[in-house]
Protein backbone atom coordinates (compact mmCIF):
# COMPACT_ATOMS: atom_id res chain seq x y z
CA UNK A 1 0.00 0.00 0.00
CA UNK A 2 1.41 3.37 -0.91
CA UNK A 3 1.72 6.01 1.76
CA UNK A 4 0.68 9.54 1.03
CA UNK A 5 2.37 12.23 3.11
CA UNK A 6 -0.37 14.38 4.65
CA UNK A 7 0.16 17.96 3.55
CA UNK A 8 -1.37 20.87 5.43
CA UNK A 9 -2.63 23.85 3.43
CA UNK A 10 -1.73 27.19 5.01
CA UNK A 11 -3.26 30.49 4.05
CA UNK A 12 -0.28 32.78 4.66
CA UNK A 13 3.47 32.88 5.24
CA UNK A 14 5.73 34.40 7.89
CA UNK A 15 6.66 37.93 6.89
CA UNK A 16 10.12 38.65 5.53
CA UNK A 17 12.64 41.06 7.02
CA UNK A 18 16.03 42.09 5.68
CA UNK A 19 18.70 43.41 8.04
CA UNK A 20 21.61 45.54 6.91
CA UNK A 21 21.80 48.28 4.29
CA UNK A 22 24.46 48.17 1.59
CA UNK A 23 25.72 51.23 -0.27
CA UNK A 24 22.84 50.87 -2.75
CA UNK A 25 20.42 51.38 0.12
CA UNK A 26 22.24 54.18 1.84
CA UNK A 27 24.25 52.11 4.32
CA UNK A 28 27.77 50.79 4.58
CA UNK A 29 27.12 47.05 5.06
CA UNK A 30 28.85 44.66 2.68
CA UNK A 31 26.29 41.91 3.27
CA UNK A 32 22.68 41.61 4.39
CA UNK A 33 20.56 38.81 5.88
CA UNK A 34 16.92 38.02 5.17
CA UNK A 35 14.75 36.41 7.83
CA UNK A 36 11.37 34.71 7.59
CA UNK A 37 9.20 34.03 4.57
CA UNK A 38 8.43 30.41 5.45
CA UNK A 39 5.04 29.14 4.31
CA UNK A 40 5.13 26.01 6.46
CA UNK A 41 6.36 24.71 9.80
CA UNK A 42 10.15 24.51 10.20
CA UNK A 43 11.95 22.46 7.55
CA UNK A 44 8.84 20.76 6.13
CA UNK A 45 10.04 21.41 2.60
CA UNK A 46 7.46 19.00 1.16
CA UNK A 47 4.67 21.20 2.47
CA UNK A 48 5.63 24.75 1.61
CA UNK A 49 8.38 27.14 0.60
CA UNK A 50 11.17 28.01 3.03
CA UNK A 51 12.90 30.71 1.01
CA UNK A 52 15.46 31.84 3.60
CA UNK A 53 17.80 29.77 5.73
CA UNK A 54 18.00 30.59 9.43
CA UNK A 55 20.69 33.12 10.25
CA UNK A 56 23.48 32.50 12.74
CA UNK A 57 24.47 35.70 14.52
CA UNK A 58 27.23 35.96 17.13
CA UNK A 59 27.05 38.09 20.21
CA UNK A 60 29.64 40.68 21.20
CA UNK A 61 29.55 42.41 24.57
CA UNK A 62 30.73 46.01 24.80
CA UNK A 63 32.83 45.16 27.84
CA UNK A 64 35.07 42.40 29.14
CA UNK A 65 32.71 39.49 29.90
CA UNK A 66 32.59 38.58 33.55
CA UNK A 67 32.75 35.01 34.77
CA UNK A 68 33.21 33.41 31.36
CA UNK A 69 34.73 29.97 31.85
CA UNK A 70 38.02 29.24 30.18
CA UNK A 71 36.31 26.83 27.79
CA UNK A 72 34.23 29.68 26.42
CA UNK A 73 36.80 32.49 26.50
CA UNK A 74 39.75 30.60 25.04
CA UNK A 75 38.75 30.52 21.33
CA UNK A 76 38.48 34.32 21.33
CA UNK A 77 42.10 34.82 22.46
CA UNK A 78 42.75 38.43 23.41
CA UNK A 79 39.83 40.18 21.69
CA UNK A 80 37.34 39.97 24.60
CA UNK A 81 36.98 43.49 25.95
CA UNK A 82 37.58 45.03 22.51
CA UNK A 83 34.17 44.91 20.80
CA UNK A 84 35.47 45.89 17.35
CA UNK A 85 38.19 43.24 17.30
CA UNK A 86 35.81 40.70 18.83
CA UNK A 87 33.19 41.35 16.14
CA UNK A 88 35.83 41.15 13.43
CA UNK A 89 37.05 37.79 14.70
CA UNK A 90 33.47 36.46 14.81
CA UNK A 91 32.87 37.43 11.20
CA UNK A 92 36.24 36.64 9.65
CA UNK A 93 37.25 33.54 11.58
CA UNK A 94 34.01 32.06 12.86
CA UNK A 95 31.61 32.91 10.01
CA UNK A 96 29.06 35.02 11.89
CA UNK A 97 26.37 36.21 9.45
CA UNK A 98 25.37 39.09 11.73
CA UNK A 99 26.69 40.62 14.95
CA UNK A 100 24.57 41.21 18.01
CA UNK A 101 26.18 44.00 20.01
CA UNK A 102 24.98 43.92 23.60
CA UNK A 103 25.43 47.18 25.49
CA UNK A 104 26.10 45.37 28.75
CA UNK A 105 28.36 48.06 30.21
CA UNK A 106 25.49 50.56 30.42
CA UNK A 107 23.76 48.63 33.21
CA UNK A 108 23.87 50.49 36.55
CA UNK A 109 25.13 47.33 38.26
CA UNK A 110 27.86 47.01 35.68
CA UNK A 111 29.98 50.00 34.59
CA UNK A 112 27.01 52.38 34.19
CA UNK A 113 28.43 53.80 30.96
CA UNK A 114 26.43 56.50 29.19
CA UNK A 115 24.92 57.15 25.76
CA UNK A 116 28.15 58.60 24.37
CA UNK A 117 29.96 55.37 25.08
CA UNK A 118 27.20 53.35 23.43
CA UNK A 119 27.27 55.50 20.29
CA UNK A 120 31.02 55.20 20.10
CA UNK A 121 31.00 51.40 20.43
CA UNK A 122 28.30 51.09 17.77
CA UNK A 123 30.35 53.17 15.36
CA UNK A 124 33.49 51.16 16.05
CA UNK A 125 31.77 47.85 15.46
CA UNK A 126 30.09 49.13 12.29
CA UNK A 127 33.51 50.20 11.08
CA UNK A 128 35.10 46.86 11.91
CA UNK A 129 32.63 44.52 10.17
CA UNK A 130 30.43 44.57 7.07
CA UNK A 131 27.66 42.25 8.33
CA UNK A 132 24.33 43.58 9.67
CA UNK A 133 24.19 44.67 13.28
CA UNK A 134 21.70 43.84 16.02
CA UNK A 135 21.93 46.39 18.85
CA UNK A 136 20.71 45.11 22.20
CA UNK A 137 20.25 47.13 25.37
CA UNK A 138 21.48 46.31 28.86
CA UNK A 139 18.11 45.21 30.22
CA UNK A 140 17.61 48.12 32.64
CA UNK A 141 14.61 50.07 31.34
CA UNK A 142 15.66 53.54 32.47
CA UNK A 143 19.18 53.08 31.22
CA UNK A 144 18.12 51.54 27.91
CA UNK A 145 15.85 54.53 27.29
CA UNK A 146 18.90 56.78 27.56
CA UNK A 147 21.38 54.65 25.71
CA UNK A 148 19.45 53.03 22.86
CA UNK A 149 18.31 56.24 21.13
CA UNK A 150 21.94 57.35 20.85
CA UNK A 151 23.14 53.94 19.74
CA UNK A 152 20.34 53.89 17.18
CA UNK A 153 21.24 57.32 15.91
CA UNK A 154 24.91 56.30 15.56
CA UNK A 155 23.75 53.50 13.24
CA UNK A 156 21.12 55.52 11.35
CA UNK A 157 20.56 54.21 7.84
CA UNK A 158 22.33 50.89 8.50
CA UNK A 159 19.04 48.99 8.87
CA UNK A 160 19.93 47.35 12.15
CA UNK A 161 17.64 45.52 14.56
CA UNK A 162 17.11 47.20 17.93
CA UNK A 163 16.22 45.22 21.03
CA UNK A 164 14.09 45.04 22.90
CA UNK A 165 10.62 46.56 23.14
CA UNK A 166 8.61 45.15 26.04
CA UNK A 167 5.02 45.59 27.15
CA UNK A 168 5.97 48.03 29.89
CA UNK A 169 8.78 49.79 28.03
CA UNK A 170 8.41 50.13 24.29
CA UNK A 171 7.88 53.79 23.41
CA UNK A 172 11.43 55.15 23.39
CA UNK A 173 12.95 52.29 21.47
CA UNK A 174 10.09 52.25 18.94
CA UNK A 175 10.51 55.97 18.37
CA UNK A 176 14.27 55.50 17.87
CA UNK A 177 13.61 52.68 15.45
CA UNK A 178 11.18 54.82 13.44
CA UNK A 179 13.51 57.81 13.42
CA UNK A 180 16.62 55.96 12.28
CA UNK A 181 15.14 53.43 9.87
CA UNK A 182 15.84 50.27 11.86
CA UNK A 183 13.92 47.08 12.61
CA UNK A 184 12.56 46.35 16.08
CA UNK A 185 12.80 43.29 18.32
CA UNK A 186 9.69 42.87 20.49
CA UNK A 187 10.11 40.79 23.63
CA UNK A 188 7.65 38.75 25.69
CA UNK A 189 8.22 36.52 28.72
CA UNK A 190 7.39 33.16 27.03
CA UNK A 191 3.84 34.36 26.57
CA UNK A 192 2.12 34.40 23.22
CA UNK A 193 -0.63 36.77 24.38
CA UNK A 194 1.87 39.36 25.54
CA UNK A 195 3.93 38.88 22.35
CA UNK A 196 0.86 39.76 20.32
CA UNK A 197 0.03 42.69 22.60
CA UNK A 198 3.52 44.20 22.28
CA UNK A 199 3.29 43.90 18.50
CA UNK A 200 -0.02 45.76 18.60
CA UNK A 201 1.40 48.47 20.85
CA UNK A 202 4.42 49.15 18.65
CA UNK A 203 2.40 49.04 15.44
CA UNK A 204 -0.02 51.55 17.00
CA UNK A 205 2.96 53.89 17.18
CA UNK A 206 3.26 53.65 13.41
CA UNK A 207 5.84 50.89 13.04
CA UNK A 208 4.65 48.59 10.29
CA UNK A 209 4.42 44.90 11.16
CA UNK A 210 7.01 44.02 8.52
CA UNK A 211 9.63 45.80 10.60
CA UNK A 212 9.19 43.62 13.70
CA UNK A 213 11.13 40.57 14.87
CA UNK A 214 9.65 38.62 17.80
CA UNK A 215 11.66 37.36 20.72
CA UNK A 216 10.43 35.14 23.54
CA UNK A 217 12.71 35.55 26.54
CA UNK A 218 13.59 32.00 27.41
CA UNK A 219 15.82 29.57 29.20
CA UNK A 220 18.34 27.14 27.81
CA UNK A 221 17.88 23.48 27.12
CA UNK A 222 16.55 21.74 30.20
CA UNK A 223 15.33 25.00 31.72
CA UNK A 224 11.93 25.60 30.20
CA UNK A 225 12.82 24.60 26.66
CA UNK A 226 9.60 22.62 26.17
CA UNK A 227 7.48 25.59 27.16
CA UNK A 228 9.41 28.00 24.95
CA UNK A 229 9.27 25.55 22.06
CA UNK A 230 5.52 25.16 22.24
CA UNK A 231 4.97 28.92 22.46
CA UNK A 232 7.15 29.44 19.38
CA UNK A 233 5.35 26.70 17.52
CA UNK A 234 2.00 28.21 18.44
CA UNK A 235 3.14 31.61 17.18
CA UNK A 236 4.21 30.02 13.89
CA UNK A 237 0.88 28.20 13.58
CA UNK A 238 -0.98 31.47 14.19
CA UNK A 239 1.19 33.17 11.56
CA UNK A 240 0.47 30.47 8.99
CA UNK A 241 -3.21 30.67 9.89
CA UNK A 242 -3.28 34.35 8.93
CA UNK A 243 -2.75 36.21 12.21
CA UNK A 244 -0.79 39.24 11.02
CA UNK A 245 0.03 40.28 14.57
CA UNK A 246 2.02 37.07 15.06
CA UNK A 247 3.42 36.59 11.58
CA UNK A 248 6.82 38.16 12.21
CA UNK A 249 10.12 36.25 12.06
CA UNK A 250 11.40 35.05 15.43
CA UNK A 251 14.76 35.30 17.13
CA UNK A 252 16.35 33.31 19.97
CA UNK A 253 19.15 34.32 22.29
CA UNK A 254 21.08 31.10 22.69
CA UNK A 255 24.65 31.74 23.88
CA UNK A 256 23.95 33.50 27.16
CA UNK A 257 21.04 31.16 27.95
CA UNK A 258 22.87 27.93 27.20
CA UNK A 259 25.93 28.89 29.21
CA UNK A 260 23.74 29.69 32.20
CA UNK A 261 22.80 26.02 32.47
CA UNK A 262 24.84 24.06 34.95
CA UNK A 263 25.53 21.37 32.36
CA UNK A 264 27.48 23.94 30.33
CA UNK A 265 28.74 26.09 33.18
CA UNK A 266 30.08 23.53 35.64
CA UNK A 267 33.88 23.35 35.58
CA UNK A 268 35.51 20.02 34.90
CA UNK A 269 36.11 19.46 38.62
CA UNK A 270 32.36 19.59 39.32
CA UNK A 271 30.93 18.22 36.10
CA UNK A 272 33.32 15.34 35.45
CA UNK A 273 30.45 12.91 34.85
CA UNK A 274 29.40 15.01 31.82
CA UNK A 275 32.82 15.03 30.19
CA UNK A 276 35.19 17.95 29.58
CA UNK A 277 33.60 21.40 29.57
CA UNK A 278 35.44 22.42 26.39
CA UNK A 279 33.34 19.84 24.60
CA UNK A 280 30.03 19.72 26.49
CA UNK A 281 29.66 23.50 26.67
CA UNK A 282 29.59 24.08 22.91
CA UNK A 283 27.44 20.98 22.45
CA UNK A 284 24.94 22.23 25.01
CA UNK A 285 24.78 25.54 23.19
CA UNK A 286 24.49 23.91 19.74
CA UNK A 287 21.70 21.57 20.83
CA UNK A 288 19.83 24.46 22.45
CA UNK A 289 20.04 26.40 19.17
CA UNK A 290 18.93 23.37 17.21
CA UNK A 291 15.81 22.98 19.38
CA UNK A 292 14.85 26.61 18.84
CA UNK A 293 15.35 26.26 15.09
CA UNK A 294 12.86 23.40 15.15
CA UNK A 295 10.51 25.60 17.16
CA UNK A 296 10.53 28.06 14.29
CA UNK A 297 13.09 30.76 15.06
CA UNK A 298 14.64 32.50 12.09
CA UNK A 299 17.84 33.62 13.76
CA UNK A 300 19.91 32.40 16.70
CA UNK A 301 22.35 34.56 18.66
CA UNK A 302 25.32 32.43 19.69
CA UNK A 303 28.49 32.60 21.74
CA UNK A 304 30.92 29.72 21.21
CA UNK A 305 32.57 29.36 17.76
CA UNK A 306 32.36 25.56 17.85
CA UNK A 307 28.66 25.72 18.62
CA UNK A 308 28.32 28.11 15.66
CA UNK A 309 29.99 25.57 13.36
CA UNK A 310 27.78 22.74 14.59
CA UNK A 311 24.63 24.79 14.11
CA UNK A 312 25.64 25.93 10.63
CA UNK A 313 26.23 22.30 9.64
CA UNK A 314 22.84 21.34 11.04
CA UNK A 315 21.18 24.16 9.08
CA UNK A 316 22.92 23.02 5.89
CA UNK A 317 21.39 19.58 6.33
CA UNK A 318 17.97 20.83 7.38
CA UNK A 319 17.75 23.07 4.33
CA UNK A 320 18.50 20.22 1.90
CA UNK A 321 15.42 18.94 0.09
Amino acid sequence: MSFEVPVEKWSTAVSTITLGATADNGGTRTSTVTLGGAATLPFLHFEGQIPNRPVVAMEVLDTQPKEWPEALAKPFGNVLGDPAAWAQKCVEEFGAEAICLRLTSAHPDNEDTGPDHAAEVVKKVLGAVGVPLIIWGCGDDAKDNEVIPRASEAAAGENCALGTAREDNYKTITAACLADGHKLITEAPIDINIAKQVNILVSDMGLSTDRIIMYQATGGLGYGMEYAYSIMERARLAALGGDKMLSMPMLAVVGSEAWRAKEAKAPDAEGAQWGPQAKRGPIWEAVTANCFLHGGVDTVIMWHPEAVQLVKQAIDKLMQH
Binding site: K196, I200, A238, G242, D243, K244, M245
Partner: protein, 264 residues
Protein backbone atom coordinates in the same frame (compact mmCIF):
# COMPACT_ATOMS: atom_id res chain seq x y z
CA UNK B 1 -15.10 33.64 10.04
CA UNK B 2 -15.66 34.57 6.44
CA UNK B 3 -17.65 37.81 6.40
CA UNK B 4 -19.67 38.78 3.34
CA UNK B 5 -20.77 42.42 3.48
CA UNK B 6 -24.48 42.77 2.65
CA UNK B 7 -24.76 46.48 1.96
CA UNK B 8 -24.37 46.68 -1.82
CA UNK B 9 -27.94 45.65 -2.44
CA UNK B 10 -30.54 47.52 -4.47
CA UNK B 11 -33.03 46.94 -1.65
CA UNK B 12 -31.22 49.66 0.29
CA UNK B 13 -32.30 53.18 -0.60
CA UNK B 14 -28.79 54.63 -1.02
CA UNK B 15 -27.74 51.81 -3.35
CA UNK B 16 -30.95 52.07 -5.38
CA UNK B 17 -30.35 55.78 -5.86
CA UNK B 18 -26.70 55.18 -6.76
CA UNK B 19 -27.70 52.64 -9.40
CA UNK B 20 -30.33 54.95 -10.86
CA UNK B 21 -27.96 57.93 -10.95
CA UNK B 22 -24.95 55.76 -11.97
CA UNK B 23 -23.15 57.31 -8.99
CA UNK B 24 -19.94 55.31 -8.50
CA UNK B 25 -18.90 57.18 -5.36
CA UNK B 26 -21.65 55.76 -3.14
CA UNK B 27 -20.96 52.17 -4.22
CA UNK B 28 -17.20 52.51 -3.87
CA UNK B 29 -17.58 54.13 -0.48
CA UNK B 30 -19.75 51.24 0.72
CA UNK B 31 -17.21 48.75 -0.62
CA UNK B 32 -14.34 50.41 1.20
CA UNK B 33 -16.24 50.88 4.46
CA UNK B 34 -17.38 47.28 4.58
CA UNK B 35 -13.84 46.00 3.96
CA UNK B 36 -12.51 48.33 6.64
CA UNK B 37 -15.17 46.96 8.98
CA UNK B 38 -13.87 43.41 8.53
CA UNK B 39 -15.59 42.05 5.39
CA UNK B 40 -13.62 39.53 3.34
CA UNK B 41 -16.10 39.46 0.47
CA UNK B 42 -18.80 41.84 -0.79
CA UNK B 43 -22.31 40.82 -1.76
CA UNK B 44 -23.58 42.46 -4.97
CA UNK B 45 -27.33 42.50 -5.49
CA UNK B 46 -28.96 44.64 -8.16
CA UNK B 47 -32.33 44.45 -6.41
CA UNK B 48 -35.47 45.91 -7.93
CA UNK B 49 -33.73 49.15 -8.90
CA UNK B 50 -32.95 48.45 -12.52
CA UNK B 51 -34.87 47.64 -15.71
CA UNK B 52 -31.70 46.13 -17.15
CA UNK B 53 -30.16 44.02 -14.36
CA UNK B 54 -27.54 42.43 -16.64
CA UNK B 55 -25.87 45.72 -17.50
CA UNK B 56 -26.40 46.96 -13.94
CA UNK B 57 -24.56 44.02 -12.39
CA UNK B 58 -21.72 44.58 -14.88
CA UNK B 59 -21.58 48.25 -13.89
CA UNK B 60 -21.64 47.42 -10.16
CA UNK B 61 -18.80 44.89 -10.43
CA UNK B 62 -16.66 47.19 -12.57
CA UNK B 63 -17.32 50.06 -10.19
CA UNK B 64 -16.24 47.98 -7.19
CA UNK B 65 -13.21 46.63 -9.04
CA UNK B 66 -11.89 50.18 -9.38
CA UNK B 67 -11.32 50.23 -5.60
CA UNK B 68 -10.75 46.61 -4.51
CA UNK B 69 -9.80 43.11 -5.67
CA UNK B 70 -11.77 41.50 -2.82
CA UNK B 71 -13.96 38.52 -3.79
CA UNK B 72 -17.56 39.35 -4.69
CA UNK B 73 -20.72 37.35 -4.06
CA UNK B 74 -23.15 37.79 -6.93
CA UNK B 75 -26.63 37.73 -5.43
CA UNK B 76 -29.46 37.09 -7.89
CA UNK B 77 -32.03 34.49 -8.90
CA UNK B 78 -31.70 35.35 -12.61
CA UNK B 79 -29.31 33.18 -14.55
CA UNK B 80 -28.16 35.76 -17.11
CA UNK B 81 -27.44 38.26 -14.35
CA UNK B 82 -25.47 35.60 -12.43
CA UNK B 83 -23.43 34.52 -15.44
CA UNK B 84 -22.51 38.11 -16.31
CA UNK B 85 -21.71 39.04 -12.71
CA UNK B 86 -19.57 35.97 -11.98
CA UNK B 87 -17.54 36.39 -15.16
CA UNK B 88 -16.98 40.08 -14.43
CA UNK B 89 -16.03 39.39 -10.80
CA UNK B 90 -13.28 36.90 -11.68
CA UNK B 91 -11.84 33.86 -9.89
CA UNK B 92 -12.67 33.16 -6.26
CA UNK B 93 -16.09 34.77 -6.45
CA UNK B 94 -19.23 33.41 -4.82
CA UNK B 95 -22.50 32.41 -6.49
CA UNK B 96 -25.33 33.55 -4.22
CA UNK B 97 -27.27 31.33 -4.55
CA UNK B 98 -28.63 28.00 -5.65
CA UNK B 99 -31.27 25.85 -4.00
CA UNK B 100 -31.45 22.06 -3.97
CA UNK B 101 -33.75 22.10 -7.02
CA UNK B 102 -32.25 20.02 -9.79
CA UNK B 103 -32.89 22.51 -12.57
CA UNK B 104 -30.95 25.15 -10.66
CA UNK B 105 -28.07 22.81 -9.83
CA UNK B 106 -27.84 21.76 -13.49
CA UNK B 107 -27.09 25.36 -14.42
CA UNK B 108 -25.21 26.76 -11.43
CA UNK B 109 -22.83 23.89 -10.66
CA UNK B 110 -21.23 24.07 -14.13
CA UNK B 111 -21.05 27.87 -13.80
CA UNK B 112 -19.23 27.49 -10.45
CA UNK B 113 -16.85 24.88 -11.90
CA UNK B 114 -16.03 26.97 -14.98
CA UNK B 115 -15.36 30.14 -13.01
CA UNK B 116 -13.59 28.61 -10.02
CA UNK B 117 -16.34 30.09 -7.85
CA UNK B 118 -17.82 29.04 -4.51
CA UNK B 119 -21.52 28.37 -4.25
CA UNK B 120 -24.04 29.27 -1.57
CA UNK B 121 -26.73 26.58 -1.40
CA UNK B 122 -30.06 27.38 0.25
CA UNK B 123 -31.63 24.30 1.80
CA UNK B 124 -34.82 24.68 -0.21
CA UNK B 125 -36.19 22.21 -2.76
CA UNK B 126 -39.31 21.63 -4.83
CA UNK B 127 -41.28 21.16 -1.60
CA UNK B 128 -40.07 24.40 -0.06
CA UNK B 129 -38.14 24.89 3.18
CA UNK B 130 -37.98 21.72 5.30
CA UNK B 131 -39.49 21.85 8.74
CA UNK B 132 -36.41 20.75 10.73
CA UNK B 133 -32.65 20.17 10.51
CA UNK B 134 -32.93 16.67 9.02
CA UNK B 135 -34.68 17.88 5.89
CA UNK B 136 -32.20 20.72 5.52
CA UNK B 137 -29.18 18.42 5.85
CA UNK B 138 -30.68 16.04 3.28
CA UNK B 139 -30.84 18.84 0.71
CA UNK B 140 -27.30 19.94 1.62
CA UNK B 141 -26.06 16.41 0.98
CA UNK B 142 -27.72 16.38 -2.43
CA UNK B 143 -25.93 19.63 -3.35
CA UNK B 144 -22.57 18.39 -2.05
CA UNK B 145 -22.90 15.15 -4.05
CA UNK B 146 -23.78 17.13 -7.17
CA UNK B 147 -20.83 19.47 -6.61
CA UNK B 148 -18.39 16.57 -6.35
CA UNK B 149 -19.69 15.20 -9.66
CA UNK B 150 -18.69 18.52 -11.19
CA UNK B 151 -15.25 18.41 -9.59
CA UNK B 152 -16.11 21.06 -7.01
CA UNK B 153 -14.59 20.31 -3.59
CA UNK B 154 -17.24 20.22 -0.80
CA UNK B 155 -15.51 23.07 0.98
CA UNK B 156 -16.45 25.39 -1.88
CA UNK B 157 -20.12 24.85 -1.01
CA UNK B 158 -21.64 27.15 1.61
CA UNK B 159 -24.78 25.56 3.05
CA UNK B 160 -27.34 28.16 4.08
CA UNK B 161 -29.93 26.66 6.45
CA UNK B 162 -32.41 29.43 5.51
CA UNK B 163 -33.32 31.43 8.55
CA UNK B 164 -36.92 32.59 8.86
CA UNK B 165 -37.60 35.71 10.96
CA UNK B 166 -37.97 34.85 14.62
CA UNK B 167 -41.08 37.03 14.65
CA UNK B 168 -42.65 34.57 12.18
CA UNK B 169 -41.39 31.23 13.48
CA UNK B 170 -39.59 30.81 16.76
CA UNK B 171 -38.45 27.22 16.09
CA UNK B 172 -36.37 27.98 12.99
CA UNK B 173 -33.35 29.48 14.75
CA UNK B 174 -32.84 26.17 16.60
CA UNK B 175 -33.34 24.09 13.44
CA UNK B 176 -30.74 26.19 11.61
CA UNK B 177 -28.23 25.84 14.47
CA UNK B 178 -28.65 22.06 14.33
CA UNK B 179 -28.18 22.17 10.57
CA UNK B 180 -24.87 23.99 11.03
CA UNK B 181 -23.60 21.34 13.45
CA UNK B 182 -24.75 18.41 11.32
CA UNK B 183 -23.24 19.73 8.08
CA UNK B 184 -19.78 19.17 9.61
CA UNK B 185 -20.34 15.43 9.29
CA UNK B 186 -21.50 15.39 5.68
CA UNK B 187 -18.21 15.04 3.84
CA UNK B 188 -14.44 15.30 4.21
CA UNK B 189 -13.64 18.12 3.86
CA UNK B 190 -17.09 19.17 5.09
CA UNK B 191 -19.10 21.83 3.29
CA UNK B 192 -18.94 25.27 4.85
CA UNK B 193 -21.98 26.78 6.53
CA UNK B 194 -23.34 30.28 6.09
CA UNK B 195 -26.12 32.49 7.46
CA UNK B 196 -27.99 35.39 5.93
CA UNK B 197 -27.91 36.92 9.37
CA UNK B 198 -30.23 39.91 9.11
CA UNK B 199 -33.19 37.71 8.11
CA UNK B 200 -33.45 36.41 11.66
CA UNK B 201 -34.60 39.80 12.89
CA UNK B 202 -36.85 40.94 10.01
CA UNK B 203 -39.93 42.67 11.38
CA UNK B 204 -38.70 42.51 14.97
CA UNK B 205 -37.75 45.23 17.41
CA UNK B 206 -34.17 45.29 18.79
CA UNK B 207 -32.98 43.97 15.44
CA UNK B 208 -29.30 44.57 16.08
CA UNK B 209 -29.41 42.82 19.45
CA UNK B 210 -31.14 39.81 17.90
CA UNK B 211 -28.62 39.65 15.03
CA UNK B 212 -25.67 39.92 17.36
CA UNK B 213 -26.92 37.30 19.80
CA UNK B 214 -27.78 34.82 17.07
CA UNK B 215 -24.42 35.38 15.39
CA UNK B 216 -22.59 34.32 18.55
CA UNK B 217 -24.84 31.26 19.00
CA UNK B 218 -24.21 30.20 15.40
CA UNK B 219 -20.46 30.64 15.76
CA UNK B 220 -20.52 28.33 18.76
CA UNK B 221 -22.24 25.75 16.54
CA UNK B 222 -19.40 25.99 14.03
CA UNK B 223 -20.65 28.57 11.53
CA UNK B 224 -18.02 29.36 8.87
CA UNK B 225 -19.45 32.41 7.10
CA UNK B 226 -22.19 35.03 7.31
CA UNK B 227 -23.74 37.68 5.16
CA UNK B 228 -24.09 40.67 7.44
CA UNK B 229 -23.48 44.37 7.87
CA UNK B 230 -19.77 44.72 8.73
CA UNK B 231 -20.29 48.40 9.46
CA UNK B 232 -22.30 47.37 12.55
CA UNK B 233 -19.41 47.73 14.99
CA UNK B 234 -21.15 46.09 17.93
CA UNK B 235 -21.99 43.08 15.78
CA UNK B 236 -18.40 42.79 14.60
CA UNK B 237 -17.10 43.18 18.17
CA UNK B 238 -19.34 40.31 19.29
CA UNK B 239 -18.18 38.21 16.35
CA UNK B 240 -14.49 38.86 17.04
CA UNK B 241 -14.96 38.11 20.74
CA UNK B 242 -16.85 34.88 20.05
CA UNK B 243 -14.07 33.71 17.75
CA UNK B 244 -11.55 34.52 20.46
CA UNK B 245 -13.49 32.50 23.04
CA UNK B 246 -13.66 29.62 20.56
CA UNK B 247 -9.83 29.70 20.29
CA UNK B 248 -9.91 30.65 16.64
CA UNK B 249 -7.58 33.58 17.35
CA UNK B 250 -4.79 34.10 19.86
CA UNK B 251 -5.81 36.37 22.75
CA UNK B 252 -4.12 39.68 23.51
CA UNK B 253 -5.30 42.69 25.51
CA UNK B 254 -6.09 44.67 22.35
CA UNK B 255 -7.70 41.73 20.59
CA UNK B 256 -10.36 43.80 18.80
CA UNK B 257 -7.68 46.04 17.35
CA UNK B 258 -5.49 43.04 16.50
CA UNK B 259 -8.32 41.38 14.58
CA UNK B 260 -9.05 44.51 12.60
CA UNK B 261 -5.35 45.08 11.87
CA UNK B 262 -5.06 41.49 10.65
CA UNK B 263 -8.16 41.78 8.46
CA UNK B 264 -7.00 45.04 6.87
Amino acid sequence: MYVIGERINGMFKDVRQAIQAQDKGIIQDLAKKQLAGGAHCLDVNVGPASDDPVSTVQWLVETIREVTDAPLAIDTTKHDVMATGIKAAGKGSVINSTTGQQEKLDVLLPLAAENDASLIALTIDEKGIPRDANGRVEIALRVVAGAMEHGISPDRIYVDGVIIPVSADQMTPTHVLNTISQCKMLADPPPKTILGLSNVSQGAVYRELINRTYMVMALAHGLDAAILDPMDTELMDALITAELLLNRNVYCADFLKAYRASAA
